[in-house]
Amino acid sequence: MFNHTNRRDFLKQAVAGSAGIMASGSLASSLLASSSGHNFPKGKAEHCIMIWLGGGSAQIDTFDPKKRGDAKEKIPGSYYDSIDTAVPGIQVCEHLKQCAPIMDRFNLLRTVQHDVIDEHAAATNRMHTGRPTAGTIVYPSIGSLVSYARGAINENAPPYILIGYPNLTRGPGFLGSKAGYVYLTSTEEGPASFTRPDNVSTARQSRRERMLEQVRREYAERATGGKTIQDYDASVSAALRLSGPEFMSVFELSQEKDDLRNRYGSEFGQRLLLSRRLLQSGVRFIEVSHNLNFVNGSGWDTHNDGQLKQHLLIQDLDQALSALILDLEEHKMLDKTLIVVASEFGRPAGFDNGGGRGHHADCFTVALAGGGLQNGKMIGTSDEHAMKALDRSVSIPDLFATICCTMGINPGIELYAAGDRPVPITDGGKPIAELFS
C-alpha cells in the first residue's frame, strides 16, 4: 500500500516530463530517444506518412505476388502476373510497375500477422492502435502517439493531419484532444476549421479580427476566471494564426508545377502531393486514406466482383506512391520521412464464389519506404500462397515498435492514462533490427 504522499510524489515525478506538451510543438523529453536509458535502434526520421488502403488490400495481388491462380476455376493464387524490381529476388504485381524500379527505397514486411478478420472496424483499430480493445482504456492511434511524443515541428502547423474520414481508431484515445487530428476529406479545400470561408474576404476577415480584438481586450479586463480565460484567449490568437495565409497557402496545390501534379495523378495522388507540402510546413504525421470506392464499389475490400477492377486501385496507388517517393527524394526529404503503406488485413489466395477474396490476417504485407532505414530489404518470407509466414512473423506491436524507433521514439517508454496509469507506448513490441543496421 502506498500512502497518500507517496502516491502524489510518484505522480508528480511521472508526469513531470509530459506536463508541458502542447499541440504547438514542444517536445516531451522523456519520450525521446536521447533521454532514455533503454537500448533501442535510433532512427532519424522526422515525419511519417501512413497510406491507408481501407478495406484490406490483397498482399498476393500487390506486394507479395505468387503463381497465378484462377478466380473462375477457384484455383488459389495471384490475380495478375509478377514483375521483377530493382531489388534482386523481390517481385511485385505487374500493376506496380512504377514502384518496381525504385523498390530499393522500400522495405517490404511480408509476414505481418494479427488475428482480427471478422470486422473491419476491429481490425482497423488493431492496425491503428497496435492493441486489442480493452474496455478500461481507449488506446491512441499511431498518428496520435507519434505526434504526441514528438509534437509539431513548427507552431504554425498542427502535428497530426488526416486526409480521409475521421474515425475513432484514428483518434487520440486517452491522450485527449491535444493529440487529435485535424482532418480534411478532399484536397479541394483545406481543413474546414483552419480555412476562412470563401465568402469572407481578407478585408472582411481583418474587420472581424479588429473588432474581436476590442471585445477580447475588454473582456480580459472585466473577466473573472484569471488564467483559465487568459489561456483560452491565447489559443484564440493561435487559431487565427493557423488559419492565416501562411499555413493556408500550403493547401494551394496550384502553386506546384503542372508536370509534377500530373506525375502524382488522381485525387489520391494530389493527397500525397499535399502531404509533401504539409510536411514542409512542419506537420509531423499524416495519414492519407486511399478510399476510391467508386472505382470498383468496395475499394480494397475486394469480395466478389470488387476483384474485377482491383487493378485500377493498384495502378492508382502505384503512380501516386512512386511519384511521392521520387519527389521526396528530389527535395532531400525521403530519408527524413517514413512512408508506411498499411491496411487492416490482407486477403487469402483462394477466391470466393463471386470471384473475389475474403479476409486474411495470418500473413500480409505492410510496405515501408524511406525513413532513413536500410532500404531495399524484405522482412519475412511467406509460403506459396502468401498465407503463412515461412520464417518469422511480424507482430503488430513489433510493427509499432519499428515505426517508433524510425521516428526516434523509445518503444519501451510509458505514457500516462487518466493522469496516473502507466501504459507502455507499444504493447511490448520489438523493432525489426535489420532495418536499422
Binding site: 502506498f2 502516491r7 502524489r8 510518484f10 502542447m22 491507408w52 470486422e119 472496424a121 476491429a122 482497423t124 483499430n125 480493445t133 480493452a134 474496455g135 478500461t136 482504456i137 481507449v138 498542427p158 474520414y165 475521421p166 474515425n167 483518434g171 485527449g176 484532444s177 487529435g180 485535424v182 476529406t185 479545400e189 474546414a192 476549421s193 483552419f194 465568402n199 474587420r207 472581424r208 474581436l212 476590442q214 471585445v215 475588454e218 473582456y219 480580459a220 473573472t224 476566471g225 484569471g226 483559465t228 480565460i229 483560452y232 484567449d233 489559443s235 484564440v236 493561435a238 487559431a239 493557423l242 488559419s243 464499389g297 468496395s298 475499394g299 470488387g306 487518466a418 496516473d420 511490448g428
Partner: protein, 1139 residues
Amino acid sequence: MRTVTSVRTSRSVSFAVGAVAFTLLGGLEWLPTALANKPSPEKSTSDVDDYELRIQQDAPVAYWRFTGSPNEPVNNSAVQGDTRLQLIPHQKSFQPVAGPVSPEFPRFSQSNTAVRLQEPQSYFKLSDPGDNSSLDFDNGDEITLEAWVNPVRQEGVPYLIGKGRLRAGKDNQNYALRLQNKGGGMAVGFLFKSRGEKADWHRWTSNDIVTIGDGWHHVALTYKFGEPKSIAAYIDGVLTRGRWDMGGETTNPPVVDNDDVWIGSGQQAVASSSYQGELDEVAIYRKSLTTKQVQSHYEYVRPKFFLQNEAVPASGVLVQIYEGLSDRKSWTFRPPTFSESFHAEHFGLLAVPKKYNEKGIHVDRSNPFLMVLTGKAVLPKGEHRLLIRSRNSARLSMDGEQLAETKFHSLGGDNGPVFEVDRSLAPNIRPLHRGDNEAVVTVQGDGQEHVFEVQAFVGGNNRRQEVGEFGLYLATPDGDFKLLGSEKDYWLTDAAWLDYVEDQEQWTRDTNADRRHTAETKEKEYWARRHAWAKEIVNEQEKPAVPSTGPEYQGNNWIDRFIGAKLEAAGTKPGPVIDDTSFLRRLSLDTTGRMPTLEEIETFLNDPPKTRRSLAIERMLNAPEWADHWVSYWQDVLAENPNIINPTLNNTGPFRFWIYESFQDNKPFDQFATELVMMEGSLYYGGPAGFSMASQNDAPMAAKAHILGEAFLGVQMTCARCHDAPFHDVKQRDLFSMAAMLNRKELTLPKTSTVPGGSNSLLIEITLNPGDSIPPEWAFDKFSEDNNIDSMLRNDNDSRERTALLLTSPKSQRFAPVFVNRLWTRYLGYGFVEKPEDWEYAQPSHPELLTALSQEFATNGYNIKHLARLIFESEAYQREATDGANVDPEVGYDFARTIKRRLTAEQLVDSMFACAGKDFDADEMCIDIDSGRTVNLSLNLGRLTKSWQFASLSNERDRPSLDLPYASPFVTTLESFGWRSSRQDPLSTRATDLTPMQPAEVANGLLARRITTLSDDGELTQAALDAETVEEFINTAYRRFLTRLPTDSELQQFKALLDEDFSQRVVQNPKPVHRDRVVRSLVAWTNHLHPDATTVKLQMKDEVQQGDLPTNKLAPDWRERAEDMIWVIMNSPEFMFVP
C-alpha cells in the same frame, strides 16, 4: 392539440369456436395454416387424448408424452408398462408447461402437458439396450422421427432426437432429427454419419420452415437407410421438399453402435446443439409412416380471430398491438396475441410508442408484431386516391373491404441500386423513403364518414421494428396528399415534413411518458417503501449541526453556513455574488445545458428582483432539457458506447434513451442505479439491458463492475482489471467477485485479464491467475455492509439484485456522498473530494456539509432536483468564479468562489444552435436507414436534435458511401472540445486541454459558419429584419449569445459597423433562396457498394460544405456586416465559459 392516451390492460385473445360473430373490422382473411385442417367437432372438446390412441395405432417403438413430472423418468407410452425405453432427465430443471391442447388441437385433451427446455445442459438421456436394439437403424431399415415443438429463436442446429455423437471426438451419428435457423423460423433437418471407406457426414435440410412464436407445430421425418431419395419431412402435416446439402446423397450404411439417444440436445450439449423451447409427443418408429398417416397426426382448428373489441373512436385513431405473430412474409398466420392499445391522433406514425413492463422498463415486443389502426374519416365527394406507405407489408381496408396491400420488406445485401427519385404521384410529393413500400387506390368519395383500418407488420426477419414513414394519405386525382384523420393539415411534401416529424416526436415522447407512468404504478409502491426505509435508517444517524457564523458568512441557506464557518475560521472573505443575468446564464447552462433564450431572459427580468433567482431556479429545474443535459454526463460515467455499424469495439446498447427518460421522470437516484445494475429490458432499442453488452470483451461483467464501482462507490478499479491495483487498496479478486455477483454465478478469469508474462514491475502484484474461478461475493463491506438489508430484496437468491441494493443502500457509506460530490463538482467546478470516481485517498474538504447533504438526499427519496435546488439557492453557487490557481488538492477548496468552467462540447453546440435559433438539420444517426440489416448489426440512434444523441460515425471502412455528411461537422466540433465518440471506458472528469483546434472550430468550422450565416431559417435573421433600431438588433444579438446587453463601447463599435444603410437593409420583394436539396433517403447499407451511392453522398457533402445559404431578404453588404458582429460575439472567450 394532443389527445389523451389511454393504456388498456392486456387481455387474452378472444377465441371463437364454432359460430361466433366475425367482428374483424378489416377485410382480412385468416387462413388455415395447414391443408390438412379438417376440424373434428365431435372430438374438439373431449378430455380424452385421441392423439395417444392415434399414435399407438401406428405402433412406434418409443413414444414419450411428458404427462407427469418431467424431472422424473419419462415412461415409454408405446408399450404399456415398458421401463426399458425410459427417458432420464439429465438436469432436473425442466418446466412442465401446457402442450398442444384442444380446441386448437382437437386430437388433444385440454389438460395435455409438455416440457420446456431452456438450458444447454437440460436434455433427456435414453440408454441403448445393446446390439441390434430397436433403437439401432442400418441400411434397409426405415425410420420415422416425430415431435411437437414450440421453439424460441436460436442460432445453431439444435437436436430434437439424436443417437450418437454425444461426446468429444465421437462421430458416430446413427441418426438425428434437428432444427436449423432459417429465414424467419427453423428448417427441419436430418443428419447421420456413414461408415466404411467413404465415411462422411450426410445432412438433409428442408426448404420449408417451422414458424416461431405462434405456438405448437408438428414435425416428422421418414427415411429408409440406403435410399437417399426416400427422405420426406412434414411440417404441420404438410410434406416439404429439401436437399442433401452436406455430404450429398449416399447409399452407404450409417454408423451403428450402442451409443445412447439424447432428446433435446447432442454434441456434448453445447449451446448451439441444444434445443430451446417447448417439446412434446416425441416418437420413434421402425417404419416410414405414410403421408396420410403423418397427416392424421396433425389436426388444427384455427381459432376465429377477431380484433380486440374496442370502440372505434369518434376522432383520432385506435392503435392495437398484437404479438406472437409468425415470422414469415405472409398474411396467412395463426392468430397473434393482443398486447395493448392506445390512441393516436391520425393515420400516421413514425415510431410505435414503446412497451414498458411493470417496472416501467422499456422491453421488446415479439418480432414481428402486428399493428392495427382503426378510425373514422370522411371521404370527400368525388374521385380520390388513398395512399398507404409502410416499411413492412400493410393492408388497407374501408368499411371492412380490403382496398390495398403493400409489399413485404425485402432489401438486403450491400450492392443494391440507388432508386430514382420518383415524384410522379403528386406534384410536391415527398419521395418514398428507401426501404418503405407504398400502394395507391382510387375511390369514389361520397362525402360520408367511413371506417378505415390499416394493419401492418412491424419488424420481422430479425430487423429493427421500424415503421418507416408510415401513414395513410388522401389526395384528389392530381393534388398533393394529406394525412388522413388529422385535425391539423399534414401534407406529404418535403416542405411540410419537418413540422410533422417534430409534432410526431413530441407526441411519441409524451405518449411514452404516459404509458411508462401507468405501467410502473406498482413499482412506485416498492420505491416508496424503500424511501421510507432509507429515511428511517438515516434519521437514526448522527446529524451534523449547522454551524453559526457571523453575518457576512450567513449566505442564503444552510449550505452557506457550513462553507462560511470554514471561511470565517480561515479569515477568508467570500467572493461577490454574480449579477442577475450572469446568474441566469450560469443556471441555464447547468440545468438545460444551453444558454437562456430571449423569452427566458425577459421572464426573468420581469420577475421581482427579490425572488427572480428562486423563480428561475424553479422554472429551469422543470425545463425539459434538464434530461438532455444529464444524458451526456452519464454517457461518460457509465461508458455508454453504442456503435451504428457492426459493434465490435467494446460497444454497449444505446441505453442513452433510458438515461434520458430517467431524468425526464426525475427518477429517484437509487432507483436509477438499481435499474442500471439489473440490466433488464431492451438491449438494442435503448433499455437498461444495453448496459450489459460489451462487444468483443471477454469479461463483460468485470467491465460493468469496474464502471459501477467508479460511478457509485468511488472505487477506482481500472488497474484491478488485470492485476492488484498498485495505488489502491483494491485487489483484482474484489473486482471479479463483484463481476461474479453481476453474473449471478462464478466467473473464470480470462487470459487477457492479466499482465502478459507476469509482472516485471515492483509496483504490480498478481494474485489471480488466468483460469481461476471467482465466486460471487461482496468484497466492499467496508463501504456498504451486507447486513439487515434482506427486507428490501425482492429475490433473496439473486446476487445481481443484492449488488444493486448494496450499491444503493442508505447504509452505504459511499452511495449518497459520491453522488452529492458529483453534483457539487458539476455545479461549483470543484468537489469536496477532488476526484469524483476515486475516493481512495478522499479527505473531504467539508465533511460535515457532505454528510448533511447526503442525509438530505437520502431522506428526500434521492430526489436529484431537490438537491440541485438547494445548491442553486446557495450563495456559494452564486458567487463569482476564479481560475482555482490557488486550490491545493491536499487540503481541498474553500469555495470562497466558484471555479471557472469552460462549456462542455455539448453545451457549446446546443447553445450555438439555440442562440442562432436554427435546427441541427443533422439527419439521423443511422446508416441502415432502410432496416436492411439485422438488429444486432446496425442501430438507429434516431434523428439528431441534441448533442448527446451523436455517436461515432463508424466509417472505419473509409467509404464515402458510408459517410454521414450532415452529422459529421457536429462530430468534428464536439470532439475538438473533448466529447468522446467512443466511450470504451468510464470517465468522470473530461480533460479540458486547450488546442488551437477549439477556437478554430468556433471561428471557421462548418457548424460555426452556419451559426454566423443569416439564412432564412434562423431566428436571428428574423430579428435583423424586425429590429426597429440598430441598437435593438445589437441588444438582441448580445442577449441571445451572451445573455447580457453590450457595454457602451461594444455598442458603439457595432453601431459604427451597422448604422450605415440600416434603413435600407430590408430588401423589398426578395427573390426566395432556392435550393434543390439532395434527397436524403436514397443511400443505405444495402446499396452502399453501388457507385451511385458514392455519388449521392458526395453531393450531400457538397451541400454541407456550402452551408446555409444567406437570406435574400437582407441587403448583402449590411447582412455581411451583421454576420461579422455575430462572429465577433461568438468568438469572444466570454461565449466559451460559464459565467
